[in-house]
Amino acid sequence: MSLQTNHKLLIATSSTIFLILTMTIAILPAFEAQKTGPLPGIESVEPDSPIAQGRLLYLKEGCATCHTQFVRDLPVDNPYGRGSLAGDYALESPPLLGTQRTGPDLSNVGIRQPSDVWNLIHLYNPRAVVPTSVMPGYPWYFEEKEQAAENDVVVVVPDRFKPQGTVIVATAEALSLVAYLQSLKQIEVVR
């Protein structure tokens, strides 16, 4: 009976050790971590509210591929807010910390960039407001109409960024995505 000659023993040993390590390093710490409650002041959102719908669109379009919502407690991250805490993410599933910052961190973007108008133009075509931006536009969340109807939310896109003779109207999706972005505000913590 040795590992060199017994395949069952080999498989059992390597699986068992790996399972024990998995429990120690991942599953048990995860169970422990998810007990952390939300920071005081963070409230859950109704699933059918624009904010919750907007978050789903944020997931659908993979915004977190390029935008973190994860501030390290380091001087280099100061512009984005305070260091992120476990309580920031307690109600999020999945939480959107992210690993790439091709675009800026959005933990606090609701405070940094509160304007409806700016956000809508930016979502329609980012280059209309930030000339060298490489962010994708999301024109499929907007309608190009000849004339706006009474209750339409018209987006004031500069002429050279839209088809001639059209007005750009935000759909409910675009509005909910903006509502979600505006809701991204870090709760203040007294240290």
Binding site: Q4, T5, H7, L10, I11, S14, S15, F18, L19, L21, T22, I25, A26, I27, P29, A30, F31, A33, Q34, T36, L59, K60, E61, G62, A64, T65, C66, T68, F70, R72, D73, V76, P79, S84, L85, A86, Y89, A90, E92, S93, P94, P95, L96, L97, G98, T99, Q100, G103, P104, P126, R127, V130, T132, S133, V134, P136, G137, Y138, P139, W140
Partner: protein
């Protein structure tokens, strides 16, 4: 000592060849096995083209954001498509193809339960196709790297994995040699670990809030180091001695690498979330064992280099061996880089930047893909009987090598420029402007990589199995 360990490496292969296996043709070269392996490789290369065209499109979009502006091809959607397809479609399938050959050859019996492996392959194809469709439509588990495909589709993947595992396991279990060759340690290990990893990643019970992130770090990290790495190493422990025509330098180093890789690597997933609310002790453990990883990395790559040492005249004449050894260099290089990136001081400058993208391409391309190509070019002609010219392999090698180098170097510079811009406290868009020229270079490198894959497809076609009649004689002659 050195001599003894060398002999030990080949003992299971050289001594007492079992009768039943030597009568007709070498194990693993039965017509059904050849067909199965070749089909695996064809599908792998199909997904390689799909996956890298998506990758190239994503690269182009960072330079030219209006390119192909349709929701189905939006950057945020195609990025996970690229990673999912090259991970599971290309690299995993190609490695499993080679695995099916290696388990049979080293066990000296025909591949067992080839039907199971066949069904497994088709389940993976179904999973990948459905994954491609759902991810294009934006249906995913969210930005959870390498597990973006939703649960119901992932079940196809899991069942397929188990079926292919079954085929490999049965082959090793019924081996005609007393000992389990070191390759099969790594191969069986990889299948066990990947099964556990995948189940852990998709079970929901502990994944609220930061629990999710702890699992994410564990999964995305080990998905590479306890699946791709051991499969590549297992295949190399067979392919390299075979291609050089000499025993492996040390069997013992292989065993040391096996255990240390399993223990150290598993503990370091949290180094993707340094300075995050992940418990501090987890982060510190991860950094510590990231340094520990130097043990399996250099024992593995050192073992291969020492095996090649003294045979450089052979290496010079074979692009297959050059491919494989470049892959091993990639392994040593990328792992050492990974250790450095794990330090907290390095994290400040490099984390969140494109430097990480360079690192992961050095891993999946410079290491995993190059080793796969080396093993395919070295082994497949022996199975199918169709040899290639060195020029054909050389063209693939140089396109992939120059393209991959341009890619990794330019995107790493982009990362350094981004980090420098952030540390300097410039406005954010300055980091985009600084990286932009490098994104153009990255696309040029990516274009050459895709071109090299087309050469690979042609080469694969030229290595297709010969007709059944003359297979037998050729195979015996190998």
């Amino acid at each position: 000592m050195k001599c003894g360990s060398r002999l030990a490496g080949l003992k299971p292969i050289l001594k007492n060849p079992p009768m039943n296996a030597t009568l007709a043709r070498p194990a693993g070269t039965e017509p059904e096995s050849i067909k199965l392996i070749y089909h695996f490789l064809c599908w792998a290369s199909f997904w390689l083209i799909v996956g890298t065209v998506y990758g190239l499109l994503a690269a182009i979009k960072l330079y030219w954001p209006e390119a192909v502006e349709f929701s189905l091809f939006s950057f945020g959607r195609i990025r996970p498509i690229h990673t999912t397809i090259v991970f599971f479609g290309w690299a995993s399938m190609a490695l499993m193809a080679l695995t099916l050959f290696v388990v049979a050859r080293t066990s000296k019996i025909p591949l067992q339960a080839p039907k199971m492996a066949w069904i497994g392959l088709q389940l993976w194809n179904v999973c990948l196709l459905m994954g491609l469709i759902t991810l294009s439509l934006g249906i995913s588990t969210g930005p959870q790297e390498y597990r973006e495909v939703i649960g119901p589709i992932a079940i196809f993947y899991a069942v397929g994995l188990l079926l292919i595992f079954y085929s490999c396991y049965q082959t090793v279990a019924r081996r005609a040699t007393p000992e389990i060759y070191i390759s099969n340690w790594y191969i069986l290990g990889a299948f066990c670990w990947m099964t556990i990893l995948s189940v852990t990643a998709y079970l929901p019970f502990y994944q609220d809030g930061m629990g999710n992130i702890i699992i994410q770090g564990y999964y995305m990290h080990n998905g590479v180091g306890l699946w791709f790495t051991p499969l590549v190493l297992g295949i190399t422990y067979y392919a390299l001695p075979r291609m050089l025509g000499k025993p492996i330098y040390s069997y013992a180093l292989g065993v040391l690498g096996f255990w240390t890789n399993m223990v150290f690597y598993t503990l370091i997933g949290a180094h993707h979330y340094i300075f995050s609310p992940v418990p501090w002790w987890l982060q510190t453990t991860a950094i510590l064992f990231s340094v520990g990883m130097m043990v399996p990395v250099w024992s593995g790559s050192g073992n291969f280099f020492l095996t090649a040492h003294g045979s450089w005249h052979k290496v010079r004449r074979s692009y297959a061996i050059i491919f494989l050894l470049t892959g091993i260099w990639g392994y040593a290089l990328v792992s050492t880089q990974g250790t450095i990136e794990a330090f907290r001081s390095a994290n400040v400058y490099w984390h969140f930047t494109n430097f990480t993208v360079g690192h992961s391409h050095l891993a999946m391309y410079g290491f995993v893909s190059f080793a796969i190509w080396g093993a395919i070019y070295g082994l497949l002609p022996r199975i199918t009987g169709n040899e290639l010219t060195e020029g054909a392999i050389g063209l693939h090698f140089w396109l992939a090598f120059v393209g991959g180098s341009i890619y990794v170097i330019s995107i790493s510079i982009a990362g350094i420029l981004q980090g420098a811009s952030w540390v300097a406290g410039d406005s954010f868009i300055a980091s985009v402007d600084a990286a932009a020229p490098m994104w153009l270079w990255r696309s040029i490198g990516g274009f050459m990589m895709v071109a090299s894959h087309i050469v690979f497809i042609v080469n694969l076609w030229n290595m297709r199995p010969k007709r059944e009649t003359n297979l037998l004689d050729e195979a015996v002659a190998v």
